[in-house]
């Protein structure tokens, strides 16, 4: 007998279950590590997944953690949908956060209903500008956007670092962090005694708008055709370059908005660790969510839960917080493998 791989799409009923399958496989794979860390895997996963939902504060904290991921996930979804492989949400997030901070630092005399939209706008615009560079390089020079968007992430991080070590260094603490933004530039809280802020609703609204745009409009169908098969789309008279540019800019803008939301909703200032990989996690969220808005919302909430859970579990069982990160990373790899394998099937074949 020999194991043979055949090209064949998974049946339709199986496709929504695949991300779930990825989660189960991840838990099986990581249970050895949990054991090694001296904890019972079942108890660990209980603290990971169930415990954070058992109290109001920690349940709302899941939403807080999910907010930036939801936005970067939607950003990556928009790009991937149109066939622009944007790996640069991290960099777009950072420049968006920096631009929003620039407005927030100077917003003392402006009322919130002006300051907040202005911050959102500048964050969005900065993210767009950051995505414009690789987008133009792709449409004009046919440069691979995977490389250019990825490389620009480092540039954005150094830019933020230069700002924080230079002009924006906090004069009070002398830490490499910006001073606090104006109180009028802070997103209002949604629930007392929690960190949940208006940004969560902004993220949900963005997901809804993008979902309608991509799934329900003529524009969305054109975008989908470009993403699936640019050659055929061009043949059908669809302006492929323009659509690619739009998907790249929208994606960068939404990632930039995520940066603004984290500044105005959580930290109230720019710090170097403002993102801490939210842009990269957005790729995981988008893939895990199968590039659908509902899927992205669920995936962001799930990752938010794991994020919160990794803190709970380390407190309860004394295992390192890094275990949570390992589980996240494993989940990314397994998800990608499962999504890849859904186009194939394994079959036993008798040797001839």
């Amino acid at each position: 007998m020999a194991l043979k791989v055949e090209r064949r799409a998974a049946p339709l009923w199986l496709q929504p279950l695949l991300p779930l399958l990825a989660v189960v496989i991840t838990f099986v794979l990581t249970s050895a590590l949990v054991l090694l860390a001296g904890a019972n895997p079942l108890r660990a996963y209980y603290h990971f997944l169930i415990e954070p939902l058992s109290s109001r504060v920690s349940a709302l904290e899941v939403l807080v953690k999910a907010t930036p991921l939801l936005l970067t996930g939607i950003a990556v979804t928009f790009a991937f949908y149109g066939g622009f492989w944007n790996i640069g949400a991290e960099g777009q997030f950072l420049v968006g956060a920096a631009a929003a901070t620039a407005v927030g630092l100077n917003a003392h005399a402006i009322p919130p209903w002006v300051a907040l939209p202005l911050m959102a706008l500048s964050g969005f615009a900065a993210g767009m500008a950051w995505a414009l560079i690789p987008a133009l390089m792709k449409t004009r020079l046919h440069t691979d956007e995977v490389v250019t968007t990825l490389l620009l992430n480092t540039v954005a991080l150094l830019l933020v670092s230069a700002l924080l070590n230079g002009p924006w260094r906090d004069p009070i603490s002398q830490w490499p962090q910006s001073p606090e933004i104006a109180s009028t530039a802070i997103l209002p809280k949604l629930a007392p005694r929690t960190r949940l802020h208006l940004g969560f609703l902004i993220a949900l609204a963005t997901a809804l708008v993008v979902s309608v745009l991509l799934r329900r409009t003529v524009f969305g169908l054109r975008m989908r055709a470009v993403g699936l098969q640019p050659k055929a789309a061009r043949f059908a008279g669809i302006p492929v370059e323009r659509m690619l540019l739009i998907s790249a800019l929208a994606s960068g803008g939404i990632a930039g908005l995520a940066g603004m939301v984290e500044v105005a909703g959580i930290h109230y200032r720019l710090i170097e660790a403002i993102s801490g990989g939210h842009g990269y996690t957005g790729i995981l969220v988008a893939m895990l969510g199968n590039l659908s808005a509902l899927g992205v919302v669920l995936a962001a909430l799930f990752i938010g839960l794991i994020d919160t859970g990794s803190q709970t579990v380390s407190r309860a069982l004394g295992v390192p917080v890094y275990l949570g990160e390992i589980i996240q990373a494993t989940l990314l790899l397994v998800t990608l493998a499962v999504l890849l394998l859904q186009n194939y099937r394994l079959r036993w074949e008798r040797r001839g």
């Binding site: 329900r216 003529v218 169908l221 098969q229 055929a232 061009r234 059908a236 008279g237 001839g352």
Partner: protein, 534 residues
């Protein structure tokens, strides 16, 4: 494992043709029994028996997808059968790879040649069989030249394969098989890539091989060739052998019925009403290929309303680029393209469609988005008409698709992903999408490549309907039979130039073949002659 046998044997009893005594007494050189091969859900071969006698030319006839190539790829060791046995010279053998097949004296020339372009003919022939450490180029060249001479395979042993035509490359492939001492030579659709004169030459070679005792399996779907060259014909359909008959006693009508399983009425060209005004004019058009090298060098051509102009030519002589110019996906370097009086020289695909051009390209898969549905693909070229305030009107999309599916007898549902459709149905979707707009000019390339006889006849009928309606049709095809059947005038393209235009009545395969090979230059009296510049 005993396999279910094909149902056809009952439906079509093998004609009891008396077989010459000399053959019955020999054991067949190759005998295949109960060959089964499955690809996914497709049974490509289901219990096929096949015998090849020594020194015969045996044609394997059937439509695309009938299982002919699969059967022969099993024999050559390219595929491993799921069940069944093979005997060579009466002894059971196990063929696991082409290497095993070659050791048994079986050679195959597939449709895609396996030659190293930078090497010489001789180097290609002896590749893998050098024997010793040191290459004796001289004696190898002499051997190759002698073999070429003996079998009428004219090719220079020292020529670089890169510089050879498709027909010459095929000869190198045959030489390669003979050099490996093949007693059985399998040729997979060898004439598909040849011009008529090269076909004659190939047949001459096959006769000589036969005289030397080599057995030949000749895969084809062309009846006329098969009845001329073959001693014996085995017809396959849907993975089964329908029957095996002596070529001398098989009538083409009977063979056609065996291939298709039923009688098919062939469409015929009605009389041309009257050639209308010029609808598509190409005037001294120049364009580059994908690598930026000049491909079209001053093409001038005119297609009138109510007329089908066929464009003949060996692949790679500029017909793809010419079609892309009119499809709006390639940029014109120099010259002018007019559609019904409008200048569309550098028009985008969208503007070409506005000007009234219907485009059915060579590569079906590059004109539809495989993962979109049939309904979405049907609307893709005119999506604005399916929007309400920017929102997609799914109900209208569906109604539109249902209507076209019914009108064009497409076997698909509106929500099926288009890549799940058969080639014929996919082509019908593209045809429906284009013809629905009643285009004034239609440019259609290789419209029936890979389609079965039924779908082919359907598409031919639709094209003739369009001609009656008054459309100007440019039909680009490598299938001369198709051009002779449908076209009112036939133009021949060679080296990026139109080297001849003639009324279909005065076109013969021989005359077209000479032009296609670039051996002659003809011009329509009074026609614009820009081709001679450059």
């Amino acid at each position: 494992m005993r396999s279910p046998r094909c149902a056809y044997s009952a439906q079509f009893p093998t004609p009891q043709v008396p077989i010459p005594l000399s053959m019955t007494q020999q054991t067949p050189i190759v005998s295949m029994r109960g060959i089964h091969k499955r690809f996914g859900s497709v049974l490509a071969n289901q219990g096929v028996d096949f015998d090849l006698q020594a020194g015969e030319i045996h044609a394997l006839l059937g439509e695309n997808g009938a299982g002919k190539s699969t059967l022969m790829r099993v024999l050559y060791g390219l595929y491993r059968p799921d069940a069944g046995s093979i005997a060579v010279d009466g002894r059971p053998v196990l063929i696991r790879s082409p290497r095993d097949a070659i050791a048994l004296g079986i050679g195959m020339v597939t449709q895609h040649f396996a030659l190293a372009a930078p090497l010489s003919v001789t180097e290609n022939v002896i590749l893998g069989q050098e024997g010793r450490l040191w290459l004796d180029r001289k004696s190898a060249e002499a051997q190759v030249a002698a073999a070429a001479q003996r079998f009428g395979l004219t090719v220079n042993p020292r020529a670089q394969v890169r510089a050879l035509s498709i027909g010459q490359r095929q000869r190198v492939e045959i030489l390669k098989a003979l050099y490996r001492q093949a007693r059985v030579l399998i040729l997979d659709e060898p004439t598909a890539v040849l011009i008529p004169q090269e076909v004659e030459q190939l047949f001459e070679t096959l006769m000589r091989l036969k005289a030397e005792g080599v057995s030949v399996v000749f895969i084809s779907h062309k009846l006329s060739e098969v009845t001329r060259i073959a001693d014996r014909v085995t017809v396959m359909r849907s993975g089964c052998v329908v029957g095996s008959v002596s070529a001398a006693q098989a009538s083409p009508a009977e063979l056609a019925r065996m291939i298709v399983g039923q009688t098919i009425m062939s469409v015929s060209k009605p009389r041309q009403l009257s050639a209308g005004r010029p609808m598509l004019i190409l005037d001294d058009v120049w364009a580059d290929d994908d690598k930026g090298a000049p491909m079209l060098r001053g093409v001038s051509l005119q297609v009138n309303a109510g007329e089908i102009v066929g464009l003949a030519g060996v692949a790679g002589n500029g017909q793809t680029e010419l079609a892309e110019l009119i499809e709006g996906t390639r940029t014109c370097r120099r010259g002018r393209i007019m559609v019904d009086g409008t200048d569309v020289t550098r028009a985008s695909p969208a503007r070409m469609m506005q000007a009234g051009v219907g485009r059915i390209p060579e590569d079906r898969h590059a004109s539809v988005v495989g993962d979109l549905t049939v309904a979405e693909n049907m609307a893709l070229e005119h999506l604005d008409e399916f929007g309400r305030c920017g929102l997609l009107d799914r109900a209208r999309l569906r109604r539109h698709a249902e209507q076209l599916i019914a009108e064009y007898q497409i076997k698909a549902r509106p929500d099926d992903r288009i890549r799940t459709l058969s080639g014929g149905n996919m082509q019908k979707v593209i045809l429906a999408r284009v013809l629905e707009r009643q285009p004034r000019v239609i440019v259609i390339s290789q419209p029936t490549r890979g389609l079965d006889i039924r779908a082919t006849e359907y598409i031919h009928g639709k094209l003739l309907d369009q001609r009656q309606r008054g459309a100007a049709i440019l039909l680009i095809s490598e299938d001369l039979d198709e051009l002779l059947k449908l076209a009112d005038r036939i133009a021949v393209i060679y080296g990026g130039r139109i080297v001849g235009v003639m009324p279909a009545e005065s076109a013969t395969p021989e005359r077209l073949g000479l032009l296609m090979a670039g051996m002659q230059h003809e011009h329509e009296a009074g026609g614009p002659d820009h081709g001679a510049q450059g």
